[in-house]
Amino acid sequence: MKKSLAYLIAAGLAATTALSTAQAETLRWARAGDSLTLDPHAQNEGPTHTLAHQMYEPLLHRDMAGQIVPALATSWAATDNPNIWEFKLREGVKFHNGEDFTADDVVFSLNRAMRPTSAMKELLSSVEEVRKVDDLTVHIVTAGPNPLMPNNLTNLFIMDEGWTMDNGCAEPQDIANGGDNPCVRSTNGTGAYVLESRAQDQKTVLKANPNYWGIGEFPLEVTEIVYTPIQESATRVSAFLSGEVDLIQDVPVQDLGRVSETAGLVVSTAPQNRTIFFGLNVGDADLTSDNVEGKNPFADVKVREAMNIAINRDAIQKVVMRGQSSPTGVIMPPFVNGWTEALDQYPAYDVDKAKSLMAEAGYADGFEVTLNCPNDRYINDEAICQAAVGMLGQIGIKVALDALPKAQHFPLIKNKETDFYMLGWGVPTFDSEYVFNFLVHTTTDELGSWNGTRYTNPNLDQLIVSLASETDLDRRNETIAQIWGTVQSEILYLPIHHQVLNWGMTDKIDFAVQPEDQPHIKYLKYKM
């Protein structure tokens, strides 16, 4: 009798706690852009991945602190053969339609992500084969050792093979060929939320997945997500101030004060995985946009140093960014492997020294050049450029500013049609190699596609390529440090600052800002 009484009490307690956690909580969430497609391999783009992460899961994912944690894989390691990575899969996971999750689904999904129409294929370019070992073990075979394989898998979502084949979408969405397939409009993942309804650019509703494997492991306090893109920032902030939404991303810097002064609302801030900097054409014999004949002033490292110390990063942070940035001396954000405090130190602002450097280089009277700048891509991008124009004017460099929408600005860099440009760079793999591959290596068919500096250094290229297959991590890190040493002493780029992310939320929400700007709602908690 006693025993059953205790049992009853325990059961009663369990029931009440179950009740309180099972309370229906709807999260109304807004950001500037909508997901472009529900096909998880068709776009490699932030908002698209963010929405997909709620419904689909990768093998490993980056949690709210940016750390790699197990998702559908429970453990992973390189095998004795350095070209093979082994992933142990989570047991008992079911897709939203009730199908079991197995190694076959992983093999199928990663192969799908390597198809020609996939936008994710570059992340798997080193993969030769994905092999099923048994139902819960998968081997990924790479061409040569790839120490960073796990970093590349955090946005590669696993689909159900049977469901995908039944729906006829073995190939990712292909805009050159009709574009449509059922996987663009519906989902079947293993994630914490199930798609309820979706109208593009309008509203997406997700409901909690009652069979999620992570129940008990994650807070999962939100039972319904209503996601609405609001692209006009004044409207987004208004909707937040008027209580129509509970969580917004992309709070404009000029409204931060207003939001945090409003009762019941808070702004959470964290450094973003994106650094803003200027690139210089250091490689060409002559510049097209300057007034110096037969010579390239940027080819002289003294000029680059003068420009580097003529930019007053503290003033840009204070005036242009209203404090919402962290000035830096290196073109990688702080989470990236290879980042050090010393590299991040930026040179002191010193106009006199800059002027004497200019004189030493033979440009005491300065020169003219055009700066290309985007005006709809980074936070206050055009204003930063305007500030830089004024600062460089102080040392005699007359800069003509040409600000364009991103769709016109970026081709200038990729086609090497600009001598002086602004660019921002995020590092999805959280490793320096990614920065070197795109921004430092000489432009070839495979590498250096965003290196607008025309800089080429065969020794450095060799070091960069060696990173891809170096399995001794200590030695690899030494090489990374060595490459950064050259990049910094050559002053290839003029770093400005790391961007800062701002999320606005009601004060009932307990949620940290994720450095990739990806809120994973399953981690969201409510304050009691």
């Binding site: 472009l36 497609t37 805009i175 449509d180 593009q200 692209q231 769709a407 016109q408 970026f410 068919d445």
Partner: protein
Amino acid sequence: MLAFIIRRIGQALLVLLAVGFVSFAMFKFMGDPLENLLGQEATLADRAELEERLGLNDPIPVQYMQYLARAMDGNFGVSYRVGLPVGEVILSRLPATLELAALSGFLAIFFGIIFGIYTAIRRDGFIAQTIMTTSLIGVSLPTFLIGVFLIWAFAVNLGWLPSFGRGQTASVFGVELAILTWSGFKSMILPAVTLGLYQMTLIMRLVRSEMLEVLRSDYIRFARARGLGDRAIHFGHALKNTLVPVITITGLQLGSIIAFAIITETVFQWPGVGLLFINAVNFVDIPVMSAYLLLVGAIFVTINLIVDLLYFVIDPRLQADRAGGGGH
């Protein structure tokens, strides 16, 4: 009459062809769609391959001819941004724009005519003066500011109306309409007022000046001399004769309400074709931009045709002219 319509349709097709060609020629200045399509990690080989498959390396006239050939079959291509057929994307967005345009057009015409008549009849009254003064806001402030101001007043401070979106929709013969639900109707009020304010002011001022003109004319004086009542004179004689120019302007303005709801739709995140177009511009989504511009061209041409036909109905003199072989 029939010959007139046929001739106008022929002209309309020429206009559409020209619109299409001009817009196509402009797209290469819009930027590079491949940049958005491929993402930052793409290699040069990926780029070349996609460019080839999309036919983007063909010369512009060739691309335009191919586009026209496909458009004849009703195939407007696939949106680069959302990867779905353009015809379907635009059709799914069109009801939102049309219902918004209908409501704001109705508000503009209804209040425009009422205020216009009132301010014409009570020219020096205090209320008339107030209406005239405040209506200056409608013509002089940009739509964007009016929208943001309305949001600030009615959504943030008073909390009466939603600041964004379309609310609930109800399905009528498969078409989703917001105006039929309470939350949808509430969401429509602010965008409809924002969109219609300028047109309302315009119609009001037009009606007023036409009315003043007509009220001074001889036949109104004769009507008064005949001892007709104010009501009969103002509405039966004066108003009717002001309507021809009002209909022309209203018709054209209705076209621009539908076509240029872009700013209003962006401010209120109203999911119509205007918002679609803005997103297409940002993404260099050429198929959507081309189809949208053709659609806008078609709307204007159609409205012009209807306006021309309405003249015949309202003003019998035009029919007499044509019958007499005059014509312009």
